[in-house]
Symmetry: C2
Subunit: 467 residues, 2 copies
Amino acid sequence: MKRRELMASLPLLAAPGLRAQGLSAADEQFALRLREAALADTTLAYQLIEGLCTEVGPRPAGSANDARAVAWAQRELKRIGLANVRTDEVPVTAWQRGPASATLFAPHAQPLVMLALGNSVGTPDVGVDAELVYYPDLAALRADTTERAKGKLVFIDQKMERSRDGSGYGRAVMARIAGPVEAARRGAVAIAIRSIGTDRDRLAHTGAMRYDPAVARIPAIAVSVPDADLIARHHARGTPMRLKLEMRNTSGIRAMSANVLAEVPGTGLADEVVMIGAHLDSWDQGQGALDDAAGVGIVSAAAAHIMKLAKSSGVQPKRTIRVVLFANEENGFDGANAYGAKYKAVKHQLVGESDFGAGKIWRVRSRVAPDMAASVATLAQWLQPLGIEAGNNMGNPGPDAGVLMRANLWPGIELSQDGTNYFDIHHTDNDTLDKIDPATLPQNVAAWALAAWWAAQLPQSLGPPTL
Amino acid sequence: MKRRELMASLPLLAAPGLRAQGLSAADEQFALRLREAALADTTLAYQLIEGLCTEVGPRPAGSANDARAVAWAQRELKRIGLANVRTDEVPVTAWQRGPASATLFAPHAQPLVMLALGNSVGTPDVGVDAELVYYPDLAALRADTTERAKGKLVFIDQKMERSRDGSGYGRAVMARIAGPVEAARRGAVAIAIRSIGTDRDRLAHTGAMRYDPAVARIPAIAVSVPDADLIARHHARGTPMRLKLEMRNTSGIRAMSANVLAEVPGTGLADEVVMIGAHLDSWDQGQGALDDAAGVGIVSAAAAHIMKLAKSSGVQPKRTIRVVLFANEENGFDGANAYGAKYKAVKHQLVGESDFGAGKIWRVRSRVAPDMAASVATLAQWLQPLGIEAGNNMGNPGPDAGVLMRANLWPGIELSQDGTNYFDIHHTDNDTLDKIDPATLPQNVAAWALAAWWAAQLPQSLGPPTL
């Protein structure tokens, strides 16, 4: 069917008659059985998450634990019955956290709970000891055309708002990513920011920052929210503050990592791929449970359920359904870039990634060719009993999948998880297995299985999306 | 009135006629106005807590910050209008935390979030590297008559239950206090315990432990709850575990601290004292906000409200109402012991302490002479509109006040706070100002003011209590 004809049939597509799109009765029956089986399985996804957190733990790209995670993933993806389990090597430039400490003098010493931001240089051996200059947010620093920050340590007190869709993160995170360069441009010798997080725990949130080759590389840290509050209270009193920072980090470590791939083989359209992904690496804090063992468990279990039902029913997917566990999402998207380069010529029907914790999915959004957007109604109909509402065609398929969508114009799917509490934990030492609620996993697995199955069986091509 | 006569009048006391006990109409009117004024004041207690957390911060006994806290308290108690502000020096034997790290090998390395227990010795310079032997709780260790722990590192996985009255702490805390000696008796080279806490944060809970002079002093640590979970998961898998511990602490530091005293002077019975206390010291983690800046703010504000109303109304308390901010509650009760020794001969009508965070008070319990227990009904009646229920005569007046009650047979009062969430934070880095809910403070201040006023005016002596 050409797109123009499909457009003409839109009213039909929104109605229950699924075969209007060319999905067979068998496809639909498979979907309903798949949903039932995935919802009934309360163990597989959690078991995978528990294994990765327990047997591997934190796994920053390029580390020994990252290599352990790659070995673990290959073993587990085979164990759960997926086919073509393999790795694609990914060279990474790793960054390694060293010992660090920060003390606030206001004027007497108070130790601060802090973490280096990812990619930050260390301090000179004697440390940095500088007057603290306070900015309420990144905008205030950007607006500063004076010499106020020169020779000082810039503090940005950027606050992050809690929200279900995580949009508060988008509004706050540039303080972390771009703050160091903005501070260095104004002659600052170091920068500290309020952690980009929604909690009140005495744990700092790390995360990547970027240097500008044309600007001095200054040490960059995040302090915990209660420590930022302390600085704000001293600032409100007008107390002069000094901060002493000692930090040793190592940048530019050449190392190898790998994307791990596994498949449910396709049949008639086996050369086309439906990619459901997650990332295997994590920050060095915590156990990378919500970020992103959860996604690893969810998409792996989703594919395993399709494989199992395909075997027992004799109905195989048309397209190949591929699980990709990406290398180094956290600090450079090396895995996504390598995957995009390697499989550029392979037609991808849909890409999506589970990387927003383990909360319940509340919405489905697509990013497909505008004239294919209405076709998502079928998937939305399958998802509706899971408490998932239909969204628009402005979906964001996740960090690695988003890189691929933009680079190769592959269509994307977003299964929006409830992220209300996600940024309490994100990139902190608190990202441990106990933060996973096993009760919300089956719904996630069922939704990803349905999305993959739908895309695999749809006769039409979903792309290219409009970016 | 003799006690026998009082007993005979019990039915009257439970009735609203307050003067049946000899409290005057003016006493009662004062109480009602006091309650109103304290409830209307939403700032004073919080201001004190904020000041101690911000301007001093953590203040372990004998430290430079402990001395700063003593100076801070004298200044603030004067500023809020109390009389006879002074210090009583208290020699303390301090313990200082040094750098520490612990790594679990199961078999590959996973870093543990841990803290030394208070008073723990350090490890030899090379550290301790030993096989971990798992005990589900202290009882299991105590029941072990084998040589299983010999040369090993004992791990006690004692879990603590959440409860409003904090009773879960009493049932779990001996694993921390007595576990090290029990492990050493069985030849263990070190001990680690699951943190005594109700949270799931990646923060360890410190707290005091005790050595037995007849048993080897082994290094003792608590790991965070998620780390204890990790150990338990490896144990469930049957994975052999080794733990490497490096720790430097300093014990036996001779230092001076002080109790800080302030008063609302009495009149007719000015030689008798009603003592409302809190402790000024804290552990070295966090800011000592809930433990016990909260109590410092609450009892100081309570006394300040009595002073203010006494001045404006011209009605003075009969007995002296004394605020005592105790030294070194956390690690030896040095302040309480020094106070008890110094004021042994001074008649104390009542002692009580606010040291259970900043939660709402839900109950009043006394520990007075059995034949005076019924007199507490008057106080309970005043407290009832604050949502406080009447309890029995088995009250625990708090840690320092409890020491004094037992040592000198002084009667005690317990204003039971809701401690449901207290042990999420207790003795961790998370004990920071943001954990204080300013909304619950006025009720606490009002209750302590009423208790002090009641005891100051009651014609009868409340003691001695039955222990």
